[in-house]
Symmetry: C2
Subunit: 363 residues, 2 copies
Amino acid sequence: MDVEKVFHMNGGHGEQSYAENSHLQKKASDMVKHITLKSLAEAYISTEPESLGIADLGCSSGKNTLSTIREMVEVIDKTTSNTPPPEYRVYLNDLPTNDFNALFKILPDFYKEVNSERHIRCQKQVSSVFIAGCPGTFYGRLFPNKCLHFIYSANSLHWLSRIPPGLYDKDGKSINKGSFYISKSSSLQVAKAYSDQFQEDFSLFLQSRSTELLSGGRMVLILLGSRDRSHVDRGNSFLWELLSQSFSSLVSEGEVKQEKVDEYNTHFYAPSRNELEDEVKKEGSFKIERFEMFKNERYSGPYMSHGTAVARAIRAIQESLISEHFGEKILDKLFDNYGNLIDEEMATDDIKPISFIVVLKKI
Amino acid sequence: MDVEKVFHMNGGHGEQSYAENSHLQKKASDMVKHITLKSLAEAYISTEPESLGIADLGCSSGKNTLSTIREMVEVIDKTTSNTPPPEYRVYLNDLPTNDFNALFKILPDFYKEVNSERHIRCQKQVSSVFIAGCPGTFYGRLFPNKCLHFIYSANSLHWLSRIPPGLYDKDGKSINKGSFYISKSSSLQVAKAYSDQFQEDFSLFLQSRSTELLSGGRMVLILLGSRDRSHVDRGNSFLWELLSQSFSSLVSEGEVKQEKVDEYNTHFYAPSRNELEDEVKKEGSFKIERFEMFKNERYSGPYMSHGTAVARAIRAIQESLISEHFGEKILDKLFDNYGNLIDEEMATDDIKPISFIVVLKKI
């Protein structure tokens, strides 16, 4: 499957859209927002450009994206109380299949609000905010040389560029039957296939960003992580295990063939702290300024259970790939089951997925 | 009607899409392509940047856009046979309602083709082409200060920022009843309302571009024009007259109310040469390097009459506004009638819409 051509968050603003089902991601980013904004301010202060280049990698198409940009502009405007604020160049990146139309349509209202806020805040004529959409994979070059001061990527870097080829034998058969990701029953070879793909991707990511970022610039990465290299705990890998359990029910009911499930693998990887640090050191052009682990919060809204919220969030992310492989018919049942399974598990023992926030400084 | 929120070319790649119905626009741009490419090469030679900034304003979403970019890259690659070619920063602009998704989805294949062509042409590792989408109205700022070397806008600048307010009296009633644009029966006040709006818009366009363009940069504008200020000839204004005739048949058949037609006016203006030149002189930061008038060619494909081709092209452009005002139900009949009317008129006497190409140099 060509991930670059198929994979995308559910577009638009409908019931199953990513825009309406990304509360949990927003919660995760919000928990560490103080670190993001502080790093941005440091990037600005250490370079003091007239034109500040900011990129959001894996922006998707909800309001989350623009609310982050708004807060970034606010922080810098306030940092520059004695000097005129810079011109803001904001580049929103995601895969070419992302629903950029939905994002662009809310821009005119966004500009109006931001301009009016800035007028009150700065009490003077302010320079502009220019937002552009930059479609493409971040596992490769996206931006011109040395044009950015700050790179931000939230909830995206755990998506690999492809399904690791090491998961298939020479006849194209999956070596990870019955699982979609690393699970208790997976062989060491499976864990290695994922880890190899992550190393290849993340190294290319760092090299590309290194060319695009100016010296002194910062990069803030928020991504799902793993407590250690084994990946077998009640964290992110366990959520994948429950998804394959939900598929098993469909198999037993004859709605999906076991072979179809056996063939399927995900292009996800939650690296461990050591793995991330090793790649940064190997690439050599960034200094790790901060590295924190945090536990993802539960859904606390009144409308649904935590299990349903997680199932809907994962559906909004995974639907494009699952429906390409299995067809659309199974989606409702699959994710209803999945939500129930999560709630049942949570009733006996918590599931504790973790995230990392990593702040890198371009040397 | 808020033109910025409603007006857009028909998206996608379907039968009524702009992508499939913009042969005539492509023909017009192709006729003067040698001038566009020469001006680009001159802009490059007079500035010789390592990073070349090119913007296409009113790019819409068909393949026309990318084929122009491809030729631009080719010309500059060939201009730089003794030096390494620059990095290309390409900004595609249109209103936020434009179908950017359709454009972005063909980018991965476009990059593959261009990179392979450039590899053969340059016989060495070449710098990259970076394409970004910049949604917004070009009647205002779109890009950062002094970031562009070349601005291109084909078949877009004859669209005004709004329906001229001078077309409505103080009670909000149209003073141009029965016509959508300047026609024989229109009062002088109608022509003035259009001309005033054009002057306001074009002046803002020039000021905005002047800030974004580097000194020595060029701007190539291709737009529909008028032979003189009267606008009443068998040119562009006559095509609008035929569209209102097509509406008259629907009125006589009881499918549309006359009042609905009376209220409707277009946000189009084909300026005369003098009007364009006057605004450029008034704004003061551009020198007119070249100004040519050319006659738009007929459709020469085998699949339909010229009338049908024009009707389909205008439908692809106007459908969003017409269906907002009149509803979608009338579209097929309206544009079938319209195509026939054009063919009938062409059988007695040619209709001769004209275009201008204007090359401006930033002083």
